[in-house]
Symmetry: C2
Subunit: 178 residues, 2 copies
């Protein structure tokens, strides 16, 4: 999760297809990623402020007659680049896998973005390599507790591998855009 948190990528991702204001981002995330993911209102506005300071997005105040005025956020080129790079990079730490990878697949799915199959494939490659590393560490281990921990990691990676090859690959292919 190089430097930026998942929360930041999710907010950037909410703006990749079209500008939105804070309340709209909240609604978008609440209606789509809601099962996987949540932000509180206060955190969202704080985050938007920070991302604006970092020039990943810019804002425009729009006054409305019958409604409170709203601050419409647009991604800058930097913001777009950061999000797009992230979307095509596989997850490097197994502990982040669930949230990070699922979120990427969500955006591929929701925006019909190309590259999902390639991401799934490179993620499969990464997990295979990592699994072999842990397997060899486990074989060398003499401490029974550490071995137990290694075996757990191997089991989880085997599960991820199975899911990637079966479900995720099928899902990504079904998007029919690669």
């Amino acid at each position: 999760m190089e430097g930026r948190s998942l929360t930041e990528y999710v907010v950037l991702g909410s703006l990749i297809a079209a500008p939105r204001h804070g309340y709209e981002i909240k609604q978008f995330l609440g209606s789509t990623l809601e099962s996987t993911w949540r932000v509180s209102t206060s955190q969202l506005y704080a985050l938007l402020k920070r991302l604006k300071q970092e020039r990943l997005l810019q804002s425009n105040l729009e006054t409305q007659e019958t409604r409170p005025s709203k601050r419409v956020l647009t991604l800058t080129d930097d913001g777009k680049a950061i999000f797009t790079d992230w979307m095509h990079r596989p997850t490097m730490h197994v502990r982040d896998f669930r949230m990070e990878f699922m979120t990427k697949l969500f955006f591929f799915f929701h925006y019909s973005m190309p590259g999902a199959v390639a991401l799934v494939e490179s993620q499969i490659g990464f997990i295979k390599t990592r699994m072999e590393e842990i397997r060899s560490q486990s074989e060398k281990s003499t401490d029974p507790f550490k071995t137990l921990v290694f075996e757990y990691k191997i089991q989880m990676m085997a599960g991820i591998h199975a899911w990637l090859s079966k479900n995720a690959l099928f899902f990504a292919r079904g998007l029919n855009i690669d």
Copy 2:
């Protein structure tokens, strides 16, 4: 992870067999749980202060001649009860499983405490039930993305189940204390 964080239980667990001072706790954790787990010095001292305020432990200043004086921490009855209860309760949220369950097994192992087999068995029961719940939700789901998420959860729970039945149960039986 009812209320208290894993960090708190780990610190309480470091004191269950004998009183220790802060530096000693740090060394103990660094030499045993180090692969699974870390605390920074500053966080440890802050946490000890908080646990003392909550009366889960008490401290005694011991002056030494050739060394800086040390604050020796002892668990109170409340502290002991909170740790012991936690040790025998299965983990309720899959997201906490890895850290929480592994830590419990570590303490069972390190202190040769009885009850490991019972914990593994009740954890197996819990995960089976939870897996069936998710499976039925998954079958009802029509949204392909949500289905994908459900299938991931099922895959992970199946992995946990396999590891519990194979590795963890064997490990717990090997402790030869139940």
